[in-house]
């Protein structure tokens, strides 16, 4: 059997077509979840980091990574997870943030690293009209990564991505 040869770039390209299961307009590479791709002969190792530790989509992501790499013709695929460094919303790519906004989700503000105890959440802009005059209606939303808001300017409800 002839070993199929792929480059790390080809693997990264394949992974960029794997959508975030809960937000299909962005991929797992857009989200910064894929941390490393190593190709050693016919063996590929992909290291990814979870977003939220309780996210029920982690199994799906792991399996989707394996499937995407095997679709390149490889059979020896290892998918590893790592917690270091912990995932941050700062890794979400700029064009992915714009796709989130168009999808109706307010992109996350820059993550606040300094004081441990802050009772005030980060400022959020309405994804439809751009106003900062918004009101949070629920600090937890339908998925672990989102909060619910209403824009006081255009009166539309929307979801906002938490900053971590």
């Amino acid at each position: 059997m002839t070993a199929i040869h792929v480059t790390p770039e080809q693997v990264w390209t394949a992974l960029s077509a794997v959508p975030d299961p809960e937000i299909p307009v962005v991929s797992i590479t857009d989200m910064g979840m894929v941390r490393d791709v190593t190709v050693d002969g016919g063996r590929v190792t992909v290291t990814f980091t979870p977003t939220f530790s309780g996210c029920p989509a982690l199994h799906v992501i792991r399996e989707s990574i394996g499937e995407a790499v095997r679709a390149l013709g490889l059979e020896d695929v290892e998918v590893r997870s790592t917690l270091t460094p912990p995932w941050t919303t700062d890794w979400i790519k700029e064009d992915a943030r714009e796709r989130l906004r168009q999808y109706g989700i307010a992109p996350p503000a820059p993550a606040d690293e300094s004081p441990l105890i802050t009772l005030d959440p980060e400022p959020t802009r309405c994804p439809r009209c751009g106003s900062l005059n918004v009101r949070m209606t629920a600090s937890f939303g339908p998925t672990l990564c989102k909060r619910l808001y209403v824009c006081e300017s255009c009166r539309e409800p929307f979801e906002g991505f938490k900053s971590v």
Binding site: P50, F140, G141
Partner: protein, 269 residues
């Protein structure tokens, strides 16, 4: 990822955790996970019954994060002794659980649930913050990860405590009653497990005395100053170890474990 330098680094980290220290760390990881599992179940009991829909969703989210944290701790334990996290969660009996009694008390009213969650969230956030400095790298990684999620819990529950304490006479009374019942139980959060002091000496675990001082500096001014609540007197015997439980834990586990025990060989999807 697989260079020899990395292997040396990992080996060096493992040496901080000697075989003599492993049983104590296993005990501690299990206790941390048990707190999350039991509290998550109490939070989950509000599903479909919270005062408003948004809070139904919020508390389910918090419970989900708690189960995620329990999973992280039990994975660390699995790396040490090969145990199965699902087996530990769903097949241990009440006398084997090591959660604090605070977590197993019935959910009470909304003031009780929110105040309990706030007291626990503040402890957890500060413990995780200190544990980021652990000399045992896998634990430091878990702490850094979980802390990012914990800040949302604390923001949410501290606002609820304020709303309830500063709301109507009725909500203030309920919050004060909850504090009267919960405050004496919080001391158990800061009780070390057997041989924990050796792990503190090795720099693997934070010193609970320091965590408690920071916790009190955070919650006491908030509760008594901003929220206008009164701290109750604490009886001298208000602590006790994690190996004793109230009568509420066994029925909680009977419900939580009923499906797993009914179909013990069920496979995850």
């Amino acid at each position: 990822m697989t260079g020899s330098g990395q292997l040396s680094a990992v080996s060096g980290q493992q040496e901080m955790l000697t075989p003599q220290l492993q049983p104590a760390l296993i005990r501690k990881l299990t206790a941390l996970a048990d707190d999350e599992i039991i509290l998550a179940h109490r939070d989950g009991e509000w599903t479909g019954h919270a005062p408003i829909l948004e809070e139904d969703i919020a508390l389910a989210n918090i419970a989900q994060d708690e189960l995620g944290h329990a999973g992280l701790y039990l994975e660390l334990r699995r790396e040490l002794d090969g145990s199965d996290p699902d087996r530990l969660a769903f097949f241990r009996d009440a006398d084997e659980f090591t959660n604090v009694r605070l977590a197993e008390l019935p959910k009470g009213d909304w003031a009780f649930t929110m105040l309990r969650q706030y007291l626990f969230d503040a402890y957890e956030a500060l413990w995780l913050d200190a544990a980021r400095a652990s000399t045992y790298a896998p634990l430091a990684e878990v702490a850094a990860k979980a802390l990012r999620e914990e800040k949302f819990h604390l923001q949410h529950t501290s606002l609820w405590v304020e709303r309830l304490a500063l709301g109507t006479d009725e909500s203030h009374r309920r919050t004060q009653n909850a504090l009267n019942e919960l405050w004496p139980r919080t001391a158990q959060l800061f009780q070390p497990v057997q041989d924990e002091e050796k792990l503190v000496e090795a720099g693997i675990l934070p010193d609970l005395t320091g965590v408690r001082a920071r916790w009190e500096a955070l919650v006491v001014p908030h509760l008594t100053g901003k929220c206008g609540l009164t701290l109750p007197d604490v009886p001298a015997d208000a602590v006790g170890g994690r190996d004793t439980h109230t009568e509420h834990l066994a029925p909680l586990l009977a419900e939580m474990q009923s499906v797993a025990r009914a179909v013990p060989n069920a496979e995850v999807w």
